[in-house]
């Protein structure tokens, strides 16, 4: 067994022991608050067992292992449905950025430890009502205030902000500069005076995203991450940290086996639906698509193991997988007919077709919409021209509204 396979075996042994207490079945019927409490307990158990901060330096409390070890663990963890959704962004982007840019190392170590143990959660405040895909159109502004800054404005779509202790934020510090150049990046205390979080109820009925309002919020200059005016670069760095994360060719919806099982159970025109050509075609096309994405992932993994840089085709995963999941979920609902009209709002996306369908649009928009991903593929991989951008090269405060 290779080192990684030994590691996988150890991870599985740990995770399997955790499943009765923290796995998908144990969580069924939990309220969000109950699930969060369970998640915090799981994170602490993971920390104590030495599976937290897998690819982070030992000095800050990590395990000092490779990115491949982390993907290996994450893939196994995802299979078992552990309550980690609250911590994914926190540990995925804001905390690594703090580790990279914050100079107060004692502060960093304390935050990292608490974040890894699930005692503190960090959010990332990028999107605003005036721009999600167009990040640099943001309007939340900071002004010099004595030896620090004063912030006013609003962020939106901030995941789990209502449970967060800290957050990272990109703001406009110079409205007279071009839109990408007048931005500055900070960490902030979500409990500071003038910060107000209002949950947004989404179409699926849950409220994991929020609006966050800032009214004369005081920020110390020591909270700045990166240079004044360098905020766009730090934002890009944030988004690039985890380019190769554990992916799911099912688009984070149900496994194709679940669809095959359903098609074998229900009748269509007096025969098992599995005999219907339309159903068979959907199964075959989805299988071929998912197998292709899985092979892309396997190859990327092998390349990283061999010390090579994986190809850019990894960027297809979310684009291709989530929209396919959306359509397959619709077909699964059609197969159930009116027997599938009963709906459980607390069902899991990975096991319930209705929930998968209702939440699929979020997957196609969050973390880079389909359209932005297609633009990125077209421009960065294929060298096609950028879209026409009338706001290019113009000082931000002179861009027509």
């Amino acid at each position: 067994m290779s080192g990684l396979e030994t590691y996988r075996a150890a991870a599985c042994a740990f995770l399997d022991a955790m499943v009765p207490k923290y796995g998908r079945e144990a969580r069924t019927g939990n309220s969000v608050e109950q699930d969060l409490a369970l998640g915090r307990a799981y994170m602490a158990a993971k920390y104590d067992a030495g599976f937290a901060g897998i690819n982070w330096p030992v000095e800050v409390g990590g395990q000092g292992l490779t990115h491949l070890h982390k993907i290996t663990f994450d893939a196994e963890e995802m299979q078992r449905g552990m309550p980690v959704q609250f911590f994914g962004i926190s540990l995925g982007m804001p905390v690594p950025i703090l580790m990279h840019y914050c100079e107060d190392k004692a502060f960093v170590k304390e935050r990292v430890t608490k974040a890894l143990r699930g005692e503190e959660i960090w959010c990332q405040m990028f999107s605003e009502p005036s721009g999600g895909s167009d990040l640099a159109a943001l309007r939340t502004r900071v002004e010099p205030d004595g030896n620090g800054w004063k912030m006013n404005g609003q962020k939106i779509w901030t995941s789990w902000a209502q449970y967060c202790d800290y957050g990272v934020i990109v703001t406009r510090s110079d409205p007279t500069a071009e839109k990408h150049k007048g931005l500055t990046y900070f960490w902030i205390d979500m409990r500071a005076k003038g910060v107000e979080v209002r949950p947004i109820k989404l179409a699926g009925g849950d409220s994991h995203v929020n609006e966050v309002f800032f009214d004369d919020v005081r920020i110390e200059d020591s909270q700045r991450l990166g240079a004044v005016g360098g905020g766009f670069g730090v934002s890009l760095h944030t988004l690039m940290i985890e380019r190769y994360i554990a992916t799911d060719s099912g688009g984070f919806g149900p496994h194709l086996d679940e669809f095959v099982k359903l098609a074998g159970e229900v009748d269509l025109n007096g025969a098992p639906a599995l005999r219907d050509g339309r159903v068979r075609s959907a199964i075959a096309r989805n299988h071929a698509m998912r197998a292709g994405l899985d092979s892309i992932t396997k190859r990327a993994f092998l390349m990283m193991q061999a010390g090579m840089q994986p190809g850019p085709e990894g960027s297809l995963q979310k684009l291709v997988a989530v929209r396919s999941r959306q359509r397959l979920s619709e077909l699964a609902m059609d197969l159930k007919g009116n027997a599938g009209l009963a709906f459980d709002p607390h069902a899991f996306v990975k096991t319930d077709w209705g929930t998968s369908w209702l939440n699929a649009p979020t997957g196609r928009i969050a973390g880079g919409s389909d359209e932005v991903l297609l633009n990125t593929i077209a421009e960065k991989i294929l060298g096609l021209p950028q879209d026409h951008r009338p706001d290019k090269g113009i000082p931000f405060n002179q861009i027509p509204a």
Partner: protein
């Protein structure tokens, strides 16, 4: 086998692409479209000279002892060039059938000649839309074949044919020399595929496999040819992606490059996605040769590659507008090849059913 190409394999990919780039002539291929029964001789001479006919044949039979991964890489280069002869795939099919037959005498007679390019082979399995008909209409009895196999790829020029036939109510896979058979050349939309109806009237043939073993062998041969064809389809689909991209960054309309319009750039990005998914499936299928997963991997490769080549040929033409439908530009070489390859070795209809049968454990 690893899903990462080693240095030797990368060299095969680069070299086959380089040689074909240098020796392929669009004008020659366009002329072949209007000639029945002709292949692109410079391409086939290149294939023989480069040893591509010998690639996947064991060394003891005069081959190079490599496999599906290497042949797939060459097929990808051939697909990009819309290569004007079908014998890389059909020759490999015949080689696979011979190796699977365990008939040492036939192997000794034909494998060295197939390796050297001295003999050409075709594989006659399909009848209409049945890639592997359960009761083939061609009958094998008393050591001879009776009946007609329609539109056999390479049938006009092949010296031998692997034939899917019925023998006493059961299927049989047999090998026949074609000299005594009657061939009727077809005028097709892709004439360098050399389609011919092969009519056997007491043509001598030798059994490669019978009964259940014949079905298993024929299916394995078909799956192997489908994986080679899938590589060829990926090569074609990728070539079209590049042609579309290159056009979109040179052609202007409404005062800007057409590649700056999202209707164009997103279409090209989708073409890229189809190519990469199909390529990954091809790599996996080739690396799965000889394992229990091979048939499913072959189906995944075949389905995604067919979708990629068909879609990219539609969309590449569309992106070009009027110039795209001219004879001279030649995009129709890819359009035609996308369809001929989609039908040969079993269409999407066949492979979708086969894949679902495999996934659910149903009998075919």
């Amino acid at each position: 086998m690893s899903m990462l190409y080693d240095e030797g394999q990368q060299a095969i990919a680069t070299e086959s692409r380089r040689v074909l780039d240098a020796r392929t002539s669009k004008d020659r291929l366009l002329k072949l479209l209007e000639q029945v029964g002709e292949l692109d001789q410079p391409f086939w001479d290149t294939a023989v000279e480069q040893g591509w006919t010998a690639l996947a044949i064991p060394e003891e039979h005069g081959g190079l002892g490599l496999g599906l991964v290497e042949l797939g890489l060459v097929a990808q280069a051939a697909g990009a060039a819309t290569a004007g002869a079908p014998f890389l795939t059909s020759g490999y099919g015949a080689v696979s059938a011979l190796l699977g037959s365990r008939n040492a005498e036939l192997q000794a007679r034909w494998l060295p000649r197939l390796a050297s390019g001295e003999a050409l082979a075709c594989v006659a399995l399909a009848e209409g839309n049945a890639a592997l008909p359960p009761s083939p209409s061609v009958i094998f009895a008393g050591g001879t074949l009776m009946g007609t196999k329609p539109a056999v790829t390479g049938g006009i020029k092949a010296d031998i044919a692997v034939v899917w036939a019925s023998s006493g109510g059961k299927p049989a896979l047999v090998l026949a020399e074609l000299a005594p058979a009657e061939r009727r050349a077809l005028n097709s939309y892709d004439n360098s595929r050399l389609y011919a109806d092969l009519t056997f009237a007491g043509t001598p043939a030798t059994v490669l496999a019978e009964g259940d073993a014949a079905l298993a062998l024929a299916r394995d041969v078909l799956a192997r040819m489908a994986v080679v064809a899938a590589h060829e389809q990926v090569g074609g689909a990728e070539a079209l992606l590049h042609i579309a991209r290159d056009y979109a960054v040179t052609r202007k309309a409404f005062g800007q490059l057409i590649g700056a319009f999202q209707s164009i750039k997103h279409r090209i990005a989708e073409m890229y996605g189809l190519v990469e998914v199909a390529r990954a499936n091809c790599i996996h299928a080739a690396a799965s040769e000889g394992t229990a997963e091979f048939l499913i991997a072959a189906a995944d490769a075949r389905i995604s590659a067919t979708e990629a080549y068909d879609t990219n040929s539609r969309d590449c033409v569309q992106i070009h507008g009027g110039i795209g439908v001219t004879w001279e530009l030649g995009l129709h070489l890819h359009m035609r090849r996308a369809r001929s390859l989609a039908v040969e070795q079993g269409s999407l209809l066949f492979w979708e059913d086969l894949l679902v049968n495999q996934l659910t454990g149903e009998a075919a």
